[in-house]
């Protein structure tokens, strides 16, 4: 294999790899702004300067491919001076409003300025200022902070498939904006904020909520659709503040759609049912878990019972439900429900050729693998029990009594009689299978709220009267 030397270390590389990737493998981090592994290389920011032996000038590492016998220095005096000069240029117009900027703490400009920049500045002239256009519901723009890396322009072109961000004017007056100042159209707008190396494009949803360094991070999987994008839940004090994508080159690469990014909001919806409740007339009244479980137990002994299982549950929950039903309710039927019109994984196609899938639940494949048939049309039985993880679309139900176990919002369950609250995907561990058949783990980020219980726990209490008495 071909070899080159970076900072005295010999590294192997495959032809065509650029120096940033090769250096990363040698344990050398090269500061970058415009380079992003998921986007094309433009070598605009001039931050990744390295010195290559036998080349007269400094080279940008992102646009220089490694070659056999190349000797690269990343910490020489010339490189340091070059990077310091670049940093000084980039900071000429930067407002240094880190105290009010949401990017502070995870900002490339801060990191690289600290790592490669000078502590002093010679610039004393007035900085340029802009009036910002409204970028829609997702992104808040602040052009003053921009360093024109054009990552956002390339992301729109290459990943989101829509050319909506452009650079107009030139030189000091350059303006990165949308065409004709329109609002953003793409359903992947949240990524603009992730890839922006400064605080130019930030999330409106996260605006001033928390500082980046205060958040705890839990690696989990998005439950928005059957794609199973890897994501990170950022939370503090049992409340979730935002979700960001994690790198997984086999599934979502570096990206994530807005639907999945903001999906967590329903788990913190004030209308979510957090206590066992029973319908009295038109209103809900709180009951104890014991009363709720007794109702569930006595109703499901009826002859004609249908158990419905949302395909947004984890494999563990599904198999626990299947075990319970096959053992204790021999006459009852167990069917799955998920997205209207997408009953099997064969019908589950890509929705927009980017990330989104047609199935809006995470574990359709898992339900199929467990051999649970899908519900066709209306759910018709004397008693219907609905197990749901929070995202599966409820089917039309025709029954004398309907009992829900899981996550429900008040407005969704007007026809239900009893609700036993369960855990949302942010509150439980489990396994889901995505549309490619890849098993992935959900991890608990926040603790269950109020009186919510996990479905396996509910089933255990249902079967075991004694345990219920002890826990009550």
């Amino acid at each position: 294999m071909a070899k080159c030397t970076i900072d005295g270390k010999e590294v192997e590389f495959t032809p065509g790899e650029n120096l940033i990737k090769v250096a990363k493998r040698a344990g050398v981090d090269i500061p970058v702004f415009c380079y992003h592994p998921g986007l094309t290389v433009v070598a605009q920011c001039r931050m990744c300067y390295v010195e290559v032996e036998k080349m007269p000038k400094l080279q940008t590492a992102c646009s220089t491919n490694a070659a056999e016998g190349m000797v690269v220095k990343t910490t020489s005096e010339a490189v340091k001076k070059g990077r310091e000069g670049t940093m000084e240029f980039l900071l000429l117009n930067h407002p240094l409003d880190c105290p009010i900027c949401d990017k502070a703490g995870e900002c490339d400009l801060q990191d690289n300025s600290f790592g490669s920049g000078s502590a002093y500045m010679r610039h004393s002239e007035e900085r340029r200022t802009y009036v910002d256009v409204d970028m829609g519901d997702v992104i808040q723009k602040n052009m003053n902070r921009c360093i024109h890396c054009t990552r956002c322009i390339r992301f729109g072109d290459e990943i989101a498939g829509i050319h909506e961000m452009v650079a107009i004017k030139r030189g000091n007056n350059i303006d990165i904006t949308t065409i004709d100042g329109k609002q953003l159209q793409t359903e992947y707008a949240g990524n603009y904020s992730d890839i922006c190396p400064t605080g130019s494009l930030t999330l409106k949803d996260f605006r001033f909520k928390k500082r980046a360094w205060m958040l705890k991070k839990t690696d989990t999987v998005c439950e928005g659709c059957s794609k199973g994008c890897n994501m990170e839940i950022q939370h503090e004090g049992n409340a979730i503040y935002r979700c960001v994508p994690r790198e997984n080159l086999e599934i979502n690469k570096y990206w994530m759609c807005d639907e999945g990014r903001f999906n967590y909001h329903y788990t913190q919806d004030p209308a979510r049912i957090l206590n066992p409740v029973q319908k009295v007339g038109a209103a809900w009244s709180k009951i104890t878990w014991d009363q709720g479980l007794s109702a569930l137990k006595s109703e499901t002994n009826a002859v004609n019972t249908l158990f419905l299982l949302g395909t947004d549950l984890t494999l563990e929950e599904m198999s626990a439900i299947r075990e319970t039903v096959t053992r204790n309710h021999k006459n009852a039927k167990l069917l799955s429900f998920g997205t209207h019109g997408v009953e099997t994984s064969a019908q589950d196609k890509s929705q927009d050729q980017i990330l989104k899938m047609k199935s809006k639940t995470s574990n359709l494949m898992g339900a199929e693998k467990l051999g649970i048939e899908a519900l066709q049309g209306k759910a018709k039985a004397d008693v219907v029990v609905v197990f749901r993880g929070g995202r599966a679309q409820l089917p039309a139900i025709e029954s004398k009594k309907t009992i829900g176990v899981g996550v429900f919002l008040e407005k969704e369950v007007t026809s239900f009689d009893v609700i036993l609250p369960g855990l949302a995907f942010t509150e439980k561990d489990g396994t889901v299978i995505n549309h490619q058949g890849k098993e992935q783990r959900l991890k608990r980020a926040v603790l269950p709220r109020e009186k919510c219980k996990a479905i396996p726990e509910v089933l255990m209490l249902l079967l075991n009267q004694k345990t219920r008495e002890v826990l009550a």
Binding site: P99, I100, A104, R207, F208, K209, W213, M214
Partner: protein, 147 residues
């Protein structure tokens, strides 16, 4: 084993020691400068670096604070609670700024961390209170003991 010594006559009556002790007391009482103050009327001068009750500096009625959250981050007692918001004349400002005065250990790290010269510790040291007191934003903005 320790040999036990019986105290002699002069030791047993203690008179000499009592007189010697009292003479020191009287010497201090009559001839030395007093160390106490008549508190409310007389006050001790403290250094300008003294770390007392907090206040948020404001200029022309607008608070310096931009709710950057550096003070709650650096606070070892975790006694500062800020909620940030946006208003017409200021991009980011603290909607809520609370200091739990009982948790505060007056280390002054918040003052040191503040990039906007907003939170400061004044010279005020009379902070006795009968119940747990949380300094609210309005109270902190009164410029009490402005340095």
């Amino acid at each position: 084993m320790l040999a036990q010594r019986k105290p002699g006559f002069w030791n047993r009556i203690y008179l000499v020691e009592v007189i010697r002790g009292l003479s020191i007391t009287m010497k201090n009482f009559l001839f030395h400068k007093k160390v106490t103050l008549q508190f409310p009327e007389q006050r001790r001068d403290y250094s300008t670096k003294f770390r007392g009750q907090h206040y948020i500096k404001s200029v022309n009625g607008v608070e310096n604070c931009t709710a950057c959250m550096l003070c709650p981050t650096v606070c070892p007692a975790e006694c500062i609670h800020i909620v940030a918001g946006e208003r017409e004349d200021k991009e980011k400002y603290p909607v809520k700024f609370e200091i739990d005065s009982l948790r505060c250990c007056f280390c002054g790290m918040c003052e040191e961390a503040c990039p906007k010269d907003a939170i400061k510790l004044s010279n005020i040291y009379e902070m006795s209170q009968q119940n747990r007191t949380v300094y609210e934003k309005d109270f902190l903005l009164e410029q009490r003991g402005n340095k």
